[in-house]
């Protein structure tokens, strides 16, 4: 799950080196915690959260195929 978010995030921010993702697995599924440079936060979230929402949609497809659930948190 992590690599998908990492590729998207690094491709749309100005400071790709500041992109960090932590992946945690528990009973409810996988939680991804995404951190980016402060100036890049808007680029990751988007107008009305559109970009974050689109990333979650793509993650859901991958999670469904892997028969798990995934949460994306932007820190």
């Amino acid at each position: 799950m992590k690599d998908l978010v990492e590729y998207i995030a690094k491709s749309i921010v100005n400071e790709p080196d500041a992109v960090n993702i932590e992946e945690e697995t528990n009973d409810e599924g996988i939680t991804l915690k995404l951190t980016v440079a402060d100036d890049d936060k808007g680029r990751i979230i988007g107008k009305q959260g559109q970009i974050a929402q689109a990333m979650r949609t793509l993650l859901r497809v991958k999670a469904a195929k892997a028969q798990t659930r995934v949460r994306l948190e932007i820190m």
């Binding site: 590729y7 970009i51 991958k62």
Partner: protein, 169 residues
């Protein structure tokens, strides 16, 4: 159909980004040029690039009313704008889903136009995506008897077909 040389690099870039995303999503699929959604103007410049995704069991990639496909398209466009100066619309399709939907919408538009013209009453269609509304507007742009406009905001925005001549009583 061939993409002019000046724009072939954009096509290859978009195709590469999409293939990378599909690979990361564990979806084995192939990406080809969609002739339906690639347009070239009179001067030979590409005005939009269409990419069709083909593979097995891709319903999951289309999503409810094509919403997942829209998300994927959004991400591809974002990555593109971050990497190239050129602003060319990239249009994604999955297994020709959007193409069939567009064909269906055009047929529906013509039928509704007839109806509106006969009854001399405006007709409001179901809410649709911006792309779908555009298809309707374009399909009826040159219609002699009816005109179209979009009303409503956000997800409930829809096309209303109105007769051009309202009878006077």
């Amino acid at each position: 159909m061939e993409i002019p040389e000046e724009q072939s690099e954009i096509y290859e870039t978009a195709k590469g980004i999409l293939e990378k995303l599909l690979e990361l999503m564990d979806l084995p699929a192939t990406v080809t040029l969609s002739e339906e959604f690639t347009s070239i103007d009179e001067e030979g410049n590409t005005t939009s690039i269409g990419l069709n995704i083909e593979g097995e069991d891709l319903g999951i990639l289309i999503g409810r009313r094509g919403q997942t496909m829209v998300s994927l398209q959004h991400i591809v466009r974002l990555i593109m704008t971050h990497h190239t100066e050129e602003r060319l619309p990239i249009v994604l399709d999955v297994e020709g889903y959007k193409q069939r939907r567009c064909d269906g919408l055009r047929v529906l538009a013509m039928r509704l136009a007839e109806q509106v013209n006969t009854r001399k009453m405006p007709f409001a269609m179901e809410p649709m995506t911006p792309f779908e509304r555009r298809v309707i507007h374009l399909a009826l742009a040159d219609h002699p008897d009816v005109m179209t406009e979009s009303t409503g905001v956000g997800d409930s925005r829809k096309v209303v077909i109105t007769p051009k001549k309202i009878p006077h009583y």
